[in-house]
Symmetry: C2
Subunit: 317 residues, 2 copies
């Protein structure tokens, strides 16, 4: 066993309803699948069934839409339509706002920061694998606590030390497609800090930090799938990790200050102001597209001016 | 076998030198590890050994540093030092510039776009697991072609259909720690488009695209590690995928236009100009920190002015 890692799947897992005891159902499913848990096994559970068991399913038809959400809906739709992307309803936009601490980007899609600190599309609200036309699932509000509850019940029952990870799939900047990520953990550290460890040649590693729970969540995604696979629970066996009693999903969240891709507009504004220079006697003979000139003028007339007198004249040579 | 995925590791893999035939060495290692490849197996290879075999190891002491790199070195160091981060040498900065198409962010670290289109820290240049104090490894320039060569040789030898993925580990926005990613592929599609497939309840999925090669690369990372594990090759068995003859790593790269987190400063500038308004008769009695006032003034005196006459006076009330 030591020369490999296994990703086992729990087949024939039942559909989950509000109030169902996920730990109990996993225990039964392990028996039916003839899997005996071993010390060090990691159980990975798809967010969708945790949310269903907690009753975090909402009917979009029952959402009251604010003016703010209507405006945002118009903006997002106007950008999504020309790209052939599916339209989000004003109700879904409202729900996303309800579940978000901050809008990080609003273009053809809404990328927001959830109350947990996760940055993802649509605040993690999901329509897929939820029964009913207008029904969506929300992320659990305390995923670490949910993970811990299930871990403790299974450990107590089977007398094995295990770790537990609640997974979801998130899109990312720069690379197409979604990958598995962890959104709640118990019994395992979020990250594995290898700084100070030696490499093959005895050199000390200076900056190597491994997001082990996300690598594990991605591995589980290989069996869980995203469509009608019906595999919401996987077990990873043979991965060596240190047991951690008080693990915290927040350890994997970059703080806003240290994140290079959450710079505020203010920061850009400063950079632009500092880069401003005057150009004179440097005109080239290159012909400029009229569109570009008009775009520049449109921005130029936004300049401050006394009593909105707009005292400008432009001559295009 | 159908109810699980296995991640096998090739143990006692030899150190790789320039000119080594990676396919040949993997074939030998498979024998030594008593692993018979099966149809559909996926071989995952760490970038470091591909680069070593190609001689893509550089001595930083031999790099000539341009003024541009010296400036950038100063800037990055001034931000990295207060954060307690390790200092990068001017030579490394120069090497990063040489290997990059564009600097995406330069703060305490350089995030660049490589010539392949990958966005990552330090253009993927790596010091770890490279022998010698000033030696670094560069990314292979045509990773898909390297993957294909090795795949074809192994397939020809063993008469099995396999896929091949060259992996690296990249950091990401929003989440701490690095995860496994694919940088070169052969025999498997980069992404798995599930749009139009049905979910558990027969609803059509609208936007589900899975980055399957990155999930696979992350899974392989679980056995490869990042330090002195000495496991540069893993085999994933039992993952169902369609064979793809002309696979292309570019399929996983978001185009610049469609990437929400590569917005140019220009775009922010437009947004800021459009938001500008005048405030009058709206002064509150709130006391303002002197630092903030001075920061505002520092930016205000960057405004255009005739012949650098700087015709301003400020009165702080």
């Amino acid at each position: 066993m030591k020369n490999k890692i296994e990703i086992l799947k729990l087949e024939n897992f039942p559909l989950i309803n509000e109030g169902d005891d996920i730990a109990e159902i996993i225990l039964n499913s392990l028996k039916e699948n003839n899997i005996s848990l071993q010390n060090g096994d990691i159980i990975l559970i798809a967010q969708s069934i945790i949310s269903k068991s907690l009753g975090l399913i909402r009917n979009l038809s029952e959402i009251e839409v604010t003016e703010n959400a209507k405006e945002l809906h118009k903006k997002v739709t106007s950008k999504a339509k020309p790209m052939g992307l599916p339209e989000r309803s004003p109700e879904l936009i409202q729900m996303i706002l309800n579940e978000s601490k901050e809008i990080v980007k609003s273009e053809h899609v809404l990328i927001t920061e959830t109350y947990h600190g996760f940055i993802c599309a649509n605040a993690g609200i999901d329509k897929s694998n939820v029964e009913g036309k207008n029904m969506v699932s929300l992320l659990p509000s305390e995923p670490d606590i949910e993970a811990k509850k299930i871990q403790e019940k299974i450990e107590g029952e089977l007398k094995r030390n295990i770790a537990l990870i609640i997974t979801d799939s998130f899109g990312r900047p720069f690379r197409n497609g979604a990958v598995g990520v962890a959104i709640g953990i118990s019994g395992i550290s979020a990250i594995l800090d290898k700084r100070g460890c030696s490499d093959l040649f005895g050199n000390k590693l200076q900056s190597t930090i491994v997001a082990q729970i996300d690598n594990l969540a991605s591995a589980a995604q290989l069996v869980m799938g995203e469509a009608n696979e019906g595999i919401p629970v996987a077990i990873i066996r043979g991965y060596e990790y240190e047991r951690r009693e008080n693990s915290d999903i927040k350890d994997i969240i970059r703080t806003k200050d240290s994140d290079l891709f959450r710079n505020s507009n203010l920061k850009y504004f400063e950079e632009i102001l500092k880069k401003r220079t005057s150009y004179k006697k440097q005109f080239s003979n290159k012909e400029i597209n009229k569109e570009i000139i008009f775009d520049c003028l449109k921005l130029a007339i936004l300049a401050p001016n006394a009593h909105n007198s707009q005292p400008w004249k432009f001559v295009i040579l």
